[in-house]
Subunit: 440 residues, 2 copies
Amino acid sequence: MIKIYTVEEAQRSILRRQPLNAMTYPPAVLAGTERLFGPCVTPAQAVAKILASVQAEGDAALRRWSKLLDRVELEDFRIPSEKLEEAYRSLTDELKTAMQTAAQRIRLFHELQPLPNWETTSLGGRLGQRVTPVERAGVYVPGGTAPLPSSLLMSVIPAQVAGVKQIIVCTPPNPHVSILAAAYLCGIEQVFQIGGAQAVAALTFGTESVPKVDKIVGAGNLFVTLAKQQVYGLVGLDGLAGPTETVVIADSTANPAWVAADLLAQAEHDILASAILFTPDREVAEAVQVEVARQMETLSRAEIIAQSLEHRSGIVLTPDLPTAARLSNEYAPEHLCLAVQDPQAVAKLIHNAGGLFIGEHSFEVLGDYIAGPSHVMPTSGTARFASPINVLDFVKITSLVALDPASSRALSRLAATIARTENLTAHAAAADFRLGELDV
Amino acid sequence: MIKIYTVEEAQRSILRRQPLNAMTYPPAVLAGTERLFGPCVTPAQAVAKILASVQAEGDAALRRWSKLLDRVELEDFRIPSEKLEEAYRSLTDELKTAMQTAAQRIRLFHELQPLPNWETTSLGGRLGQRVTPVERAGVYVPGGTAPLPSSLLMSVIPAQVAGVKQIIVCTPPNPHVSILAAAYLCGIEQVFQIGGAQAVAALTFGTESVPKVDKIVGAGNLFVTLAKQQVYGLVGLDGLAGPTETVVIADSTANPAWVAADLLAQAEHDILASAILFTPDREVAEAVQVEVARQMETLSRAEIIAQSLEHRSGIVLTPDLPTAARLSNEYAPEHLCLAVQDPQAVAKLIHNAGGLFIGEHSFEVLGDYIAGPSHVMPTSGTARFASPINVLDFVKITSLVALDPASSRALSRLAATIARTENLTAHAAAADFRLGELDV
């Protein structure tokens, strides 16, 4: 059952953002943490312990945590290349074709992304910015009830397009065959079956078997998220992932069955997932409500969907489409789908969204798998400042300054003036030297 | 005194990176924290307390912390616009000219930076990426013994070029007149005299008087850095700043007096600052050593310099220039200066550096103030993955998907195939609906 809300009701409930630091942990998580780590140990403290031990003891600590947390005893974490190839060969031809097409489109899309390399001679010499790829990137691919080979493609391929030389994939033990196949399809050779905070630790600090990386991307469970928060500053990160979310804006021209199907697809991810419809049309709202109830009966993940719909999802009646766009900008959704007569007109009003799906034929599921852009998009309202994974995540900028001697002299005098205001006399002296005002 | 090291000695000492999480706090900081916050309270715990209280109590908490930590009693934190204008008018004409030129060059440089907006019709419809500025940005400008109006220019102007509508500056109470003048010069109206962790808290959560922002940039003291680490994920950040650092690569053609002056300029920032010279030429090494000792006597911040030189700086004799470049890439310095005969040739070997200063006329002090690129650059080896502040810091990307109906249908079938592999039947259904394979 999906409920219909007024704007005010929605703002007090489903549109209210919980900051990541105010999230309460499910009792089962807290009990599990205490059972494994001792009384009164919070998940964050448990993660700190995992990080410190992997930093200090390397592979030995990884083996211990894998045994304790994942109940596997592994001598070697790396999955042999033959296993990756075997996994790929075991796929049906239909799935091979689908994954190949997805990989190809993701690659083509990211190859089109321009990089901000530039140089100018207009500022007295040659100045500019040079973009270079990071040397090593780590990609975390979650396990769980719905294995996501698509997440591997969506993170690995932008890194490859950026020119990253070495890409290391970590995924929880005994990964689904489709994840291994996706790695093979991308030509990835280093796949380690390490999950949770210990994977983040291994990639951040390096161990005997896992190379230390410069950047870690990819979402995971609570422990992965807490670990990423704690290593912030030590290694590059793509951001912290909260539960996934979709907003659909629909008008009277929308197909209620399609809108309902899109909301249900979102809701099946996770009991915490949000699927929210903004519409000014009460008839559409009610038709979608009926369709959601009807379609739900046929779906295998109906229990997950029911919880998402009950607590995190809903249909919001808005006075008009511009109000819907404004509310969506305030919410800053991961995905925004425009099922309206003139989607390009509404698209112009949007400035906070990870992915913008323009028109009913561009439904979010295509974005999840095959449209081209990475499906790893900013959640929890971070689309206010963050971007989907893209080629820029795997490069960094070096500013270039190659002034000509005349410009250098002219600027040296001005720089010395500011330096003296800042009480930095050695800075002023370095400039004065270039002016010949200090003896050599 | 600056020492001369072999490569092996340097790798065991000055080139050894301390990860940010392994930094030990000076005893004075620990004692001060315990005195103000109670026994056994670490700086991180003190910061957590400050953040929580500002989130809960807003301005009242800001007043309390300002009184306790900065010893000021403030009713209103905002500095009136008239004060900013007054500050600017009080500057000497020489300083006004220098700051105007600096602001103009920083603006011109950043206006040249291309943004990765793009669209293609080659993937079946219109796909691409749209770049939009964040709505509100917060800029932290540190106080301290060397007030840095240049830091304000170097952070605020890239945000303005990006199109950020509202920029809020926070700086510790009783800011230097030059900081206020720099704000006026940039046309900034919202300057708040709030320092430390409480400033980061106010910008992250918003209070009655300070607007909540989408992105916080700028370096500060230990408390600012710890606060940024703790709010990671809630608000956009430019990264965590460690002590500043410069590497100079010099050959026999370098001017030892200039190289020495550049190292001293770096060392005067902070007792933890690093100034490191790589050279294959023993004569240059020894001449620089002599020059450093000679020039130091005339400098006002000689005590700070002496500590930086003793513990964190040095001259490293390398077998050749390519080895110097390799060591520099491993160190990933904030600033790298090339004082060699063919600087462009060495520049080609560099892939990890915040700013690259190419040739002896492009010395780092010009980059600090006036060359054009922002002087806020990645420290502590984060140049492996991070960039100087630039226009991209103040924008985010939205991925655009507007497929044509035929492409949508073709892709829907493939997406459904992958969805079924992932056990996501509602995803498959959303695709099947578009194919007309489920009844409406």
